[in-house]
């Protein structure tokens, strides 16, 4: 079942020679990448490779200092739709000091939705992620896993066409990690394009349709997951998969 029978799609997303320079350092350099309409992309690479930075650039939180980022649907959909059709889940979600339900309703209010509609959709989102029973508790007193699930419910309420996740499970225990992975799968089944960074090989194997491998700010590979895990093209990726230190 797809909730996203959109007449016009924002995707594909195309990055052309994208670079990001900060304090005389090339944090990202010459990244060319095309993300199609469907699938789950996992961005891998050692710490400091530029995984988070790449997603922030795609999501529009930062502007590249060179190159360009093009949403193919942007021309027909307009600037606001480009922003409204994306969502991002961070490593540590920032939840507002109000109830979980109110956190979800807040983002719907930002989209200009009426009160009744907000209540209905927020209730649906909490239900979907198993948060209905604790939705009226203050968001800040929830456990780490519950907070991340709430962040996912908040993103889900926005019905994004593409969802970015920046190491969403790196601070979570195995049970909470499983819940987040299930949620990612649920987004995928609803037709949302997934772009997620992870340094967890097991997780990448479980979720990835294709893998983007970054190392020292450069894109070394973008290949289907089965190719990447069985026969990586670059020496760096091979070493990374073996568990060697790569930097």
């Amino acid at each position: 079942m797809s909730r996203l029978e959109l007449p016009v799609s924002l995707l594909p997303l195309e990055l052309r020679e994208v670079g990001f320079r900060h304090a005389d350092q090339n944090l990202l350099d010459g990244v060319t990448l095309r993300l199609g309409r469907v699938g789950k992309t996992v961005i891998m690479g050692p710490n400091g490779a530029g995984k988070s930075l790449l997603m922030r650039l795609c999501h529009g939180l930062l502007r590249p200092t060179s190159g360009s980022i093009v949403w193919h649907g942007a021309g027909r959909l307009g600037v606001q739709a480009v922003q409204h059709r994306q969502a991002m889940v961070f490593q540590r979600p920032v939840l507002l000091r109000r109830s979980g339900r109110a956190n979800v309703e807040y983002v719907l209010a930002l989209r200009g939705m009426g009160r009744r509609e907000r209540r209905r959709l927020a209730g649906e989102a909490l239900e979907r992620f198993g948060l209905a029973a604790i939705g009226d508790r203050p968001a800040r007193v929830l456990s780490g896993g519950e907070q991340q699930r709430l962040a996912l419910a908040r993103a889900w309420a926005l019905r994004p066409e593409i969802l970015f996740l920046d190491e969403p499970t790196s601070a979570l225990d195995p049970a909470a990690t499983k819940a987040v992975e299930d949620a990612v799968q649920a987004f995928h089944e609803d037709g949302t394009r997934i772009v997620m960074s992870s340094h967890n090989l097991g997780q990448a194997r479980r979720l990835a349709d294709d893998v983007v491998f970054l190392c020292r700010g450069r894109l070394l590979e973008h290949t289907p997951a089965e190719h990447f895990f069985t026969g990586p093209a670059s020496a760096e990726a091979a070493a990374f998969l073996r568990g060697d230190l790569v930097w």
């Binding site: 922030r56 999501h59 939180l61 922003q83 409204h84 969502a87 991002m88 961070f90 979600p93 920032v94 507002l96 000091r97 109000r98 807040y106 983002v107 930002l110 989209r111 203050p138 800040r140 007193v141 908040r154």
Partner: protein, 234 residues
């Protein structure tokens, strides 16, 4: 002149007996200071938040000035408002000098920098944590202001209280622009100063006690509110 002990006793009788002169002075004080704090908060909270969120030329200077004006001597604030409102001043035509309105304006001038400067600090700290997430959710900077003010509410209550403390405790500004006119612009602090110099210690003491009690009550209530909110909101 009465002895200190007798003065205390009479002061208590004035308070417990709800002496009309004392009650009138207390009510006017509250009316003036609370109005000043309310207006200062309505301006200072969004102003402080805006300074926290936007980068513009002269921002550093503005913050330095706000911080400096937190310590503005009340008599100087009074003098400034006096010059503005006096017959020959730019706002002289409104005839506001020696009215409670003039006192509200003067106290507002004292409270505003406190509320704005403390709000700027609180909101800037929150913004460091929230900026990316709010941007990602699609909240503009302008839309983020009420969100940040609400999420900083526990700290901001303290900022507003600091303003109330300053307003209710100062003498210089209300004395200059109000004139300490009996029954019209006489508030607790000006009355205490006058009655002490005239030797009417019971009234001065009674007012002093009420003033301390009020400030203690307001701060106590705010503390309890803050604790309750902290327990609830985490």
């Amino acid at each position: 002149m009465e002895s200190g002990e007798n003065a205390f006793l009479t002061a208590f009788q004035l308070i417990v007996g709800m002496d009309p002169v004392l009650t009138g002075i207390v009510l006017l004080s509250l009316q003036v200071s609370l109005s000043a704090v309310l207006i200062a908060a309505l301006i200072g909270l969004p102003l402080g938040a805006a300074i926290a969120l936007w980068r513009f030329p002269g921002r550093g200077l503005l913050i330095t000035l706000l911080n400096a004006f937190m310590g503005l001597p009340p008599v100087v604030a009074g003098l400034l408002v006096y010059l503005l409102l006096s017959r020959a001043g730019p706002l002289g035509q409104f005839g506001l000098l020696f009215t409670p309105t003039a006192m509200v304006i003067a106290q507002c001038l004292l409270v505003l920098p406190i509320v704005a400067a403390l709000t700027r600090q609180v909101v800037e700290d929150l913004w460091n944590e929230y900026a990316e997430q709010l941007q990602s959710l699609g909240a503009s900077r302008l839309r983020s202001i009420p969100t940040l003010l609400w999420d900083g509410r526990i700290s901001l209550v303290t900022a507003v209280l600091a303003g109330f403390g300053r307003a209710s405790a100062e003498v210089g500004a209300v004395l200059i622009v109000g004139g300490n006119i009996d029954g019209v612009t006489r508030v607790m602090t000006t009355a205490i100063a006058l009655e002490t110099s005239r030797g009417d210690l019971p009234l001065a003491l009674g007012l002093g006690l009420v003033l301390m009690l009020l400030v203690a009550l307001v701060n106590g209530a705010a503390f309890l509110m803050g604790e309750a909110a902290r327990r609830r909101a985490g």
